[in-house]
């Protein structure tokens, strides 16, 4: 007759040990829940979020040289780059840039392919829109960056 085992069985020792774990985690200093949206989350700098087209900080002009590498390397072929050749410098100048975020899987291949640091996946992630057309971003939207309206109580 194993008394230890009998006592453990009758007095539900194993169940109470489990309950002890549950109650230990009720301690307020163990709570890890982030109160989003009141508390903004910390996003890592590397985060692959909404795309942006970067501008040269000194001249204010776009860094994109319309090479089209991002469009070529995108697995979903959702980037459209239109350009025209400047007569004076004989270089390509960007005219239109369309990015369809509804099909984007945020893989970052366009960001890696870009040689001039123009297209970048920023830290913005709240990208809801009211219509499907709102998900197709043109050059202006990409250059302005994605700043969704925030409402505070």
């Amino acid at each position: 007759m194993n008394w230890n085992k009998l006592i453990r069985t009758v007095f539900l020792v194993d169940l109470f040990q489990g309950l002890a774990v549950t109650f230990r985690n009720q301690n307020p200093k163990n709570i890890v829940t982030e109160q989003y949206p009141a508390q903004r989350p910390t996003i890592a700098p590397q985060f692959r979020g909404a795309p942006v087209l970067n501008m040269n900080p000194e001249t204010g002009e776009t860094l994109c040289n319309a090479c089209g590498l991002c469009a070529l390397s995108c697995p979903e072929k959702l980037i459209v780059v239109k350009s025209e050749r400047d007569e004076a410098t004989k270089k390509k100048v960007l005219t239109e840039f369309t990015f369809d975020t509804s099909r984007c899987m945020f893989c970052g291949i366009c960001e890696e392919a870009c040689q001039s640091d123009a297209i970048e996946l920023s830290k913005a992630f709240e990208m809801a829109s009211y219509s499907r057309d709102g998900q197709v971003w043109d050059r202006k939207k990409l250059e302005d960056g994605h700043h969704p309206p925030q409402f505070k109580a």
């Binding site: 549950t22 985690n25 890592a44 590397q46 291949i109």
Partner: protein
């Protein structure tokens, strides 16, 4: 007295649909049950609700361009999928991955194993009825996902590795983050054991349920923790090592009976072993480049290769046929969840419906991999 046709009520067998929308089927899995009262006489799985044609898509993408799609197979363990794919393509092109990249790959893949087993534990316990482990395991998972966010830029669909190495070198503080997580995590595994391993309800629900012995596992092609729980100490990281696993010292946990409780013990022990591997890899991280010499435009010579790795679910393999162009000719994914799910019929014959939920949970299936 005329003979009346047999009515439905005369039969003792009930055909019940455990439909695609079900909290315990871990995704869109439909199981048609033939029940005699509460006992399961047979099951028929209907899958394909998450079929996205990934193998067909591969034919229209370049080799590096297909890498993000590979994460979507077993979406819980995206880094393992990336590892398997990159290893196969590297074999095809004959690329050498530098030692530093291999070590970092090992660290991230082992963290992925921990994350996958944590999610498995939480959801499996939830199916059985224990709700607390879900919240605790999700909390631990968050720390792993934070490390992924700081390194890759994404938490779940990481687009982890590049063909030939890593996308970038580790960030400052990566080693500290990994070691801090390892120190934080081991007491948590003890906590889960305190919650579950001795718990009489857990033990009674899981022992003797879904027994699959080694011969059955080999016949059904079942690999991973399921064959280790049956008793065979076989792990592809030791048998056919890849990415420098031969340098690390770790054990292969096994059990004897091959039932659901043994699989739980094996996966818990695997989490501890993964922490061991992470600590060793971080301590011996070599210096050097993180990307091998790989052409800009990848055109492997005509040929084919199959490479299998030890993913958290089992043996994940890629069989890639190349025709010399930039796009692969055929990419075949050997999905461990799909092949393990075949054994459901064998494991659930004669079980009760409540046991069926435990069996589906212990198979550790992810429908993204079952259906591709």
């Amino acid at each position: 007295m005329t003979q009346t046709a047999e009515t439905y009520l005369d039969k003792t067998e009930l055909v019940l649909n455990m439909g695609p929308q079900h909290p315990s089927t871990h995704g869109v899995l439909r199981v048609i049950l033939k029940l005699d009262g509460e006992t399961v006489n047979g099951t028929d799985c209907v899958i394909g609700y998450l079929h996205r044609g990934i193998e067909k898509l591969a034919e229209a993408r370049t080799y590096p361009g297909f890498a993000p799609y590979v994460d979507r197979l077993d979406y819980i363990a995206a880094v393992s999928n990336s590892m398997a794919y990159c290893l196969t393509v590297e074999k095809l092109i004959g690329a050498e991955v530098p030692a530093r990249a291999q070590a970092v790959r090992v660290i991230l893949t082992e963290l992925n194993r921990i994350a996958s087993h944590l999610l498995w534990l939480g959801t499996h316990a939830l199916d059985i009825g224990a709700i607390t482990p879900l919240f605790l395991t999700m909390r631990e998972r968050e720390f792993v996902l934070d490390i992924y966010e700081r390194y890759f830029g994404a938490r779940l669909t990481t687009h982890a590795f590049r063909i030939g190495g890593l996308p970038r070198d580790i960030y400052d503080g990566f080693q500290k983050d990994v070691l801090d997580f390892c120190d934080y995590f081991i007491p948590k595994v003890d906590e889960y054991a305190q919650l579950l391993t001795g718990n009489r309800i857990w033990v009674d629900r899981l022992t003797g349920v879904g027994v699959l012995n080694v011969a059955d596992c080999k016949a059904y092609g079942v690999t991973g923790p399921m064959i280790r729980a049956a008793g065979l100490a076989w792990d592809l990281r030791k048998a056919l090592p890849y990415s420098g696993y031969e340098q690390y010292d770790f054990n292969i946990p096994t059990c004897e009976n091959g039932d659901t409780f043994d699989r739980y013990i094996v996966r818990m022990e695997e989490m501890r072993e993964s922490v061991k591997i992470c600590r060793q890899a971080v301590a011996n991280l070599p210096d050097g480049p993180v990307m091998g010499k790989v052409a800009r435009v990848l055109k492997p010579p005509i040929g084919e290769a199959y490479v299998g790795i030890e993913a958290p679910k089992g043996e994940l393999g890629f069989y890639i046929v190349s025709d010399g162009t930039t796009n692969p000719y055929r990419v075949r994914v050997r999905p461990p969840s799909f092949i393990n799910l075949q054994a459901l019929d064998k494991m659930s014959k004669g079980a009760l419906v409540a046991d069926l939920v435990a069996i589906i949970g212990t198979l550790d299936i992810v429908l993204g991999e079952v259906d591709r």
